[in-house]
C-alpha cells in the first residue's frame, strides 16, 4: 500500500502533464525516496494509481539505472567509470573501495552501510575521478580522500 504521503506527492506531479502515465518515473522516485527501493508490491500499487499495467511500469522501472528494484545499503556510492575517469584512474578507486569496504560493483557491505555501483559520466570530467554518494558529488578523488569520505558517512 502506498502511504498517504506517497500518494499525495505522486498526485501533485499530475498537474505537469495531461496523462497520468507520464509521471511514472516521478512516482517510482517518490516511492524509492521513502523506502530506499521499489518492491514488486510497490510496482503494483503505483501501476494501479497511474492506470498502467504492472508489467509496463516494471518495463520502465528496470530500464533506469537509478531505480533500485532490489534493496540497497544506507548509502549508495555511484562511482563514475566512464572514459575520462578511467583515464584518470577510476579502476584504482574501485579497487580501493573493495579493499576498504569489501564490496565490488553491484554489492552491498555486510553492515548494510554502503552499496557500490558504476555510474556513467557525471559531467565533471575536469575534476576526474568523480563519484556521487547519495545526492552529493565528490570530485578529484584519490585513495586518501576516499578514506576521509567513508569515515564521514559511517558516523
Amino acid at each position: 500500500m502506498l502511504t498517504e504521503e506517497e500518494r499525495r506527492e505522486i498526485e501533485e506531479e499530475f498537474e505537469h502533464f495531461d496523462y497520468k502515465q507520464a509521471v511514472s518515473v516521478d512516482a517510482l522516485k517518490i516511492v524509492q525516496k521513502h523506502r530506499g527501493w521499489v518492491s514488486d508490491e510497490s510496482i503494483k500499487d503505483i501501476a494501479e494509481l497511474l492506470e498502467m499495467s504492472p508489467a509496463e511500469l516494471d518495463g520502465v522501472a528496470t530500464f533506469y539505472n537509478l531505480i533500485y528494484r532490489k534493496p540497497v545499503g544506507k548509502h549508495v556510492i555511484l562511482l563514475c567509470d566512464s572514459v575520462s575517469c578511467w583515464v584518470m584512474g577510476c579502476d584504482r578507486m574501485r579497487a580501493h573501495f573493495t579493499k576498504r569496504l569489501g564490496i565490488d560493483f553491484g554489492e552491498t557491505s555486510e553492515d548494510n552501510e554502503f552499496t557500490l555501483l558504476p555510474m556513467q559520466c557525471l559531467g565533471t570530467c575536469d575534476h576526474a575521478p568523480a563519484m556521487m554518494i547519495d545526492e552529493t558529488l565528490h570530485r578529484d578523488l584519490d585513495e586518501d580522500k576516499i578514506d576521509g569520505i567513508i569515515e564521514r558517512y559511517k558516523g
Binding site: V25, C125, D126
Partner: protein, 432 residues
C-alpha cells in the same frame, strides 16, 4: 577565414565559486531584453528567421541547423492545438561537461532561450529534461523558474503579448539513451524510453503525437543573444560561416582540464596547448576524441584542424559536443576503447539486434585482447561487427550504434600496432 570578434556571450555572467545571477542581476545585465523585444516587436516567424540567418547549429552532437528545424513546425490557426518545446539537459555523453556549466553558471540565460524558442514555434508547454545527477542545477533551475513566473516571463499573457507558456522541470533516473530525442519523448510520456522510428519527425509528430522541438541546452543559451544582437553580430563571433562561439572542453592527462568559450573554428592545437596548458609533465599526446565518447579518434596530424563542424567531419570524425578526451602515450588505447565499449554495452537500449548483440561482442573481444587472451582473428571479428553496423547506417532505430563503433573503428586504424602487440605478446604492454 575571417578574424572573429572576441566576445563571450554565453559565459559573460559567470562568476566561478559564487551563486549565479538571480533575476534582478540578470536583468540589470540586459537579461530578458530579448524576450521583451520578441514579444513586443517580433512575430514568431521573425524569431525563427533571425536564428536561421545566424546559422546557429545544434550543440547537442548532430549539428542540425536550428532555425531550419523550427521552420518545419506547423504554424497558424490550422496547426495542432498543443505544441511542445523540450530542452535536452540529459548530458550523459562520456567526456562531456559543458551543459552542466551553463545550467549552473547562468540558469536565467537558459530559461530566456527556452522562452524564445517556445515563442518561435508557439509552444504551449515546455519541459526541461534534466539528468538525475545534476542536483545543483536542479535546485538553481527550480529557483530561476519561480522567479521567471513571478516576473511574468512565464505563465499567462507574457508581457501583455497574449502568448502563454507553462514550463516544467523533469528530472530523469539515469539512462544515456534518454538523451536521444525520440527516446526522450517516450521517457517524458512515462513509457519505456526506447527510440522511435523516424519519420514521422518530432517537428510534426512528437510528444503525444503533437509538434515538438527538442533542443540542446547550449543551443538554447545562444538564442537570447541572437535575438538581442542580430544575425550579423552572431556570425562575426566565429571563424567560419557557422555562427557563434562554442563551449570547448578537454579532459584527460592535460595540465588544465576545463571548459572555454571560444570562437567556433578555434584550432585544436590552440585549445590543447594554450588553454589546456599542454600535456602533464612526462606525457606525450597520442590521440583525442574530439567531441565525446561517440566520435572517432583524431591524432597528431589533425592538431591544426579548426574545431568546427565541416573540418572535423572531413578529417573523419565529428565535432560532437566539442568536449575532447585526450589519450596520452602512457595510457593503453586498447584499454581506453574497451572502457568506451563497456559504456555502450551497458547503455544500448536493446531495440536493434546489431547494437544489442554487436556492441557487447566488441567488448568481449576487446577485454580478451586487453587481458592477454586475444587471437589474431579477433581483429577480423571487430572489423566484421564495425562493418555490419556502419553498413546499416540509418537502419538502426537511432544513431547510438553507429556512434558506438566510431572510436573503435578509428582506434583500430590509428593504434593497430597496439592491438597487434597485445595479441602477439599476450599481455598489455602498458601494464606496470
Amino acid at each position: 577565414m575571417s578574424e572573429p570578434i572576441r566576445e563571450k556571450p554565453l559565459t559573460k555572467n559567470f562568476s566561478p565559486g559564487e551563486a549565479p545571477f538571480d533575476l534582478k542581476q540578470y536583468e540589470s545585465g540586459g537579461g530578458y531584453q530579448a524576450v521583451r523585444k520578441a514579444m513586443t516587436e517580433m512575430a514568431p516567424e521573425d524569431v525563427t528567421g533571425v536564428v536561421k540567418e545566424a546559422n546557429l547549429r545544434g550543440r547537442g552532437g548532430a549539428g542540425f541547423p536550428t532555425g531550419m528545424k523550427w521552420s518545419f513546425v506547423p504554424m497558424g490557426d490550422r496547426a495542432p492545438k498543443r505544441k511542445y518545446l523540450v530542452a535536452n539537459a540529459d548530458e550523459m555523453e562520456p567526456g562531456t561537461f559543458k551543459d552542466r556549466l551553463l545550467l549552473e553558471g547562468d540558469p536565467h540565460q537558459f530559461i530566456e532561450g527556452m522562452i524564445l524558442a517556445a515563442y518561435a514555434i508557439q509552444a504551449d508547454v515546455a519541459y526541461i529534461f534534466l539528468r538525475w545527477a545534476y542536483k545543483k542545477a536542479e535546485a538553481l533551475l527550480g529557483k530561476a523558474i519561480a522567479e521567471a513566473y513571478e516576473a511574468g516571463y512565464l505563465g499567462k499573457n507574457i508581457l501583455g503579448s497574449g502568448y502563454n507558456l507553462e514550463l516544467y522541470l523533469h528530472t530523469s533516473a539515469g539512462r544515456y539513451i534518454c538523451g536521444e530525442e525520440t527516446a526522450l519523448m517516450n521517457a517524458l510520456e512515462g513509457k519505456r524510453p526506447i527510440p522511435r522510428t523516424k519519420p514521422p519527425f518530432p517537428q510534426t509528430s512528437g510528444l503525444w503525437g503533437k509538434p515538438t522541438i527538442v533542443q540542446n541546452v547550449e543551443t538554447l543559451c545562444n538564442v537570447p543573444h541572437i535575438v538581442a544582437n542580430g544575425a550579423d553580430w552572431y556570425k562575426s563571433l566565429s571563424y567560419s560561416g557557422n555562427g557563434g562561439t562554442k563551449l570547448f572542453g578537454a579532459s584527460g592527462k592535460i595540465k588544465r582540464p576545463a571548459i572555454w568559450e571560444l570562437p567556433l573554428g578555434t584550432p585544436m592545437r590552440e585549445l590543447l596547448e594554450e588553454h589546456a596548458g599542454g600535456m602533464q609533465d612526462g606525457l606525450k599526446f597520442r590521440g583525442v576524441l574530439p567531441g565525446g565518447a561517440s566520435t572517432d579518434f583524431l591524432v597528431e596530424e589533425h592538431l591544426d584542424l579548426p574545431m568546427d563542424y565541416e573540418p572535423v567531419m572531413e578529417a573523419g570524425s565529428r565535432l560532437g559536443t566539442g568536449t575532447m578526451v585526450i589519450l596520452d602515450d602512457k595510457t593503453c588505447p586498447v584499454g581506453m576503447i574497451r572502457n568506451l565499449e563497456l559504456f555502450f554495452t551497458r547503455e544500448s537500449c536493446g531495440f536493434c539486434t546489431p547494437c544489442r548483440d554487436g556492441i557487447p561482442w566488441t567488448h568481449r573481444l576487446l577485454d580478451a585482447i586487453e587481458t592477454g587472451d586475444g587471437k589474431p582473428e579477433d581483429i577480423d571479428n571487430l572489423d566484421f561487427i564495425i562493418n555490419t553496423i556502419t553498413r546499416m547506417l540509418g537502419r538502426t532505430f537511432c544513431a547510438f550504434a553507429p556512434g558506438a563503433v566510431e572510436p573503435l573503428q578509428s582506434g583500430l586504424k590509428y593504434f593497430r600496432d597496439d592491438f597487434e602487440q597485445h595479441i602477439g605478446e599476450k599481455r598489455c604492454p602498458y601494464a606496470s
